[in-house]
């Protein structure tokens, strides 16, 4: 099994998965909170917030990468503070890659979860309240189980988006083998290298295989959740 891929390919694959999983996990709670805010509340500046969340979907990824660099770089507004207070620098590290991927994935995750939240029958929540359930219990026992499929879809989209992230990542954290060189970045490097065609093809195949496995796994999970919710399919 280990012979199937070269050590460099293993490294890129492991890094890609780590970046994708971390960015997905970081993205989910933020996306869920934002989705709730947008689905359930009316407040001034809602359209602006909605627009800001969707920005990564419409501006060139390089712009997002540039903004992250300006803000989170060692000399950036937030980055300088992070470094002074915590001694942490995320620019040019795999953590930075995860942040870039999370920002790019956010709009997709928010959209999927918002749709699921808007589809929850508020009447069921009212019923739970009249049965004596406090808001937290209503959320945990009624709302969460009903939006679980939407959260799963959001998570898959975030994961897939993170696996494929390229533009923002290369701009923000550069293309450092072993640190920030995920599969798409490695693929790009091979294409730039004379004689790297075969290696590029192998990386493309790995990329496709990972995406397929993720999709099939999520479809399987979604079906199980649907069955547990609907009783019958």
């Amino acid at each position: 099994m280990t012979d199937l891929l070269s050590p460099a390919e293993w490294e890129a694959l492991a890094l890609s998965l780590r970046v994708a999983v971390v960015s997905m996990l970081g993205c989910l709670p933020v996306a869920l909170a934002l989705a709730f805010l947008l689905a359930r509340f009316r407040f001034p500046g809602k359209a602006l917030l909605d627009g800001l969340i969707h920005l990564p979907l419409v501006v060139p990824p390089v712009v997002v990468g540039y903004l992250l660099l300006v803000m989170l770089g060692r000399k950036g507004i937030v980055g300088a503070w992070l470094f002074d207070v915590f001694g942490v620098s995320i620019a040019f590290t795999w953590k930075g890659a995860a942040v870039a991927a999370a920002v790019m994935a956010l709009p997709l995750a928010v959209r999927a979860m918002r749709l699921a939240i808007e589809n929850v029958d508020r009447g069921l929540e009212d019923a739970a309240k009249t049965l004596g359930a406090q808001p937290l219990k209503v959320f945990a026992t009624v709302t969460m189980p009903l939006i679980a499929p939407g959260i799963l879809v959001g998570a898959l989209l975030a994961f897939a988006r993170a696996l494929g992230e390229f533009g923002a990542t290369i701009t923000f954290v550069s293309n450092i083998p072993g640190e920030t060189q995920t599969i798409p970045l490695a693929l790009y490097a091979q294409i730039q290298t004379p004689g790297g065609e075969a290696a590029a093809a192998r990386l493309a195949a790995i990329s496709i295989a990972v995406a397929l496995i993720a999709m099939i796994a999520s479809e399987y999970m979604a079906r199980r959740i649907r069955r547990s919710i609907g009783g019958v399919e």
Binding site: G123, A127, A128, T130, L131, G132, T141, V142, G231
Partner: protein, 380 residues
């Protein structure tokens, strides 16, 4: 004791209602009115699902809402059970988990799972999911879930409205059993006068967000001025009666009513049993002298109390020929006769008349407080 004073402005509609009812004594209180009159909004305000713009909600001396004092107890602390029209079972839980969802509530009442599943006949459904239940089964589970949350009072919002005739007939007896066996005060919202007459003792008539009338079901349904609201279909009177005597020779039961004795085919009830009669307006004829040589067994004397207005509906020319008269026989009795008869008999308010009753429907549930089927007697 339920006290509600509430104002609420909607974009195209306003509620301004004042209701004060003693639900413990009255068993089922019906909130009756046409669709869209504000009935559901009113009970939502009692349950705390809708906040009045101004007003006060008090149940058993406990203030649940008071706009002046800034009190607004959230719905999950009001100890009010709510059966929704659309059952609202949690689709991701089994029937048993649904039933036990609110079972932890401490509120002074306590109902037991076995008792309730038996009462509602849902014991065989416990492991199923709501998606596998019929409409009637869902509604029964929903009623059970609400009762098992130990409410102090039960609100029911048209629990039968989304069911077909057969399913309705399936649920009605269960609601009657709730009233008779659990002793839980119930506020029952309905737009069906048949359901109200069958289940409730006291009704509150809602029209365009306001209380048009409230009181005993018999009084309200016999008031001709409320005729457009209570509806013409199956118009009639509801009269309280007790079993007085049995006439074994002729197979008749004699009932004591405020208007005098009424004889009906024999009932399986012992003397002293309380029951409720429903007499449809079209099953009564009037005479200005006591008729002789007639097969009518039940002839009650009274005076004309009220004469209804002509009903002008272009679509219903036949209705224009009829007029409703309310006769005081000790209790109000609605009578439907032709306008021609009204003129020929020269009836005015205060005229003495004899009411000839053709048929009586007996509703044992309503006052008898015991299980039993409905008898309808038709004779002359």
């Amino acid at each position: 004791m339920i006290e509600l004073r509430a104002k609420k402005q909607f974009p195209s509609f306003a509620i301004d209602a004042e209701i004060e009812i003693d639900a413990e004594d009255s068993g089922i209180v019906a909130l009756f009115g046409k669709s869209g009159c504000g009935k559901t909004s009113i009970i939502n305000m009692i349950a705390g699902l809708l906040r009045p713009d101004a007003g006060k909600v008090v149940i058993d001396d406990r203030v649940l809402f008071d706009s002046k004092a800034g009190i607004d107890i959230p719905p999950y602390r009001r100890d009010i059970g709510y059966v929704f029209q659309d059952a609202r079972l949690f689709p991701h839980m089994t029937v048993k988990s649904n039933l036990l969802y609110g079972a932890g509530r401490e509120s002074g009442t306590r109902f037991d799972l076995d008792l309730i599943t038996e009462l509602l006949d849902i014991g065989h459904l416990l492991t199923r999911r709501p998606g596998e239940l019929s409409g009637g089964e869902k509604q029964r589970v929903s009623i059970g879930r609400t009762i098992l949350s130990n409410p102090r009072i039960l609100l029911m919002d048209e629990p039968l409205a989304s069911l077909d005739g057969a399913r309705k007939a399936e649920i009605l007896p269960f609601i009657q059993r709730l009233r008779d066996e659990l002793g839980l005060p119930i506020i029952y919202v309905s737009h069906s006068i048949e359901e109200v007459v069958r289940l409730a003792d006291v009704m509150v008539l809602i029209d365009e967000g306001r209380v048009a009338a409230s009181g005993d079901v018999g009084d309200i349904t016999s008031r001709l001025d409320l005729y457009p609201l209570t509806g013409r279909y199956e118009a009639g009177s509801v009269i309280a009666a007790t079993v007085k005597d049995l006439d074994a020779d002729y197979g008749l039961t004699v009932l004591d009513t405020p208007g005098g004795d009424i004889r009906v085919p024999q009932l399986s009830l012992s003397p002293g049993s309380a029951l409720r009669l429903r007499i449809r307006a079209r099953d009564v004829a009037l005479a200005i002298e006591r008729p002789t040589g007639t097969s009518f067994q039940n002839i009650l004397n009274g005076t004309v109390r009220e004469i209804g207005e002509r009903i002008h509906t272009r679509s219903d020319a036949a209705a224009d020929a009829m007029v409703e008269v309310s006769v005081d026989i000790g209790a109000p009795l609605r009578v439907r006769i032709t306008r021609k008869s009204l003129d020929e008999l020269g009836l005015r308010i205060g005229s003495p008349v004899y009411a000839l009753i053709k048929a009586v429907a007996i509703d044992k549930h309503t006052l008898g407080r015991g299980a039993g089927s409905e008898h309808a007697a038709r004779y002359s």
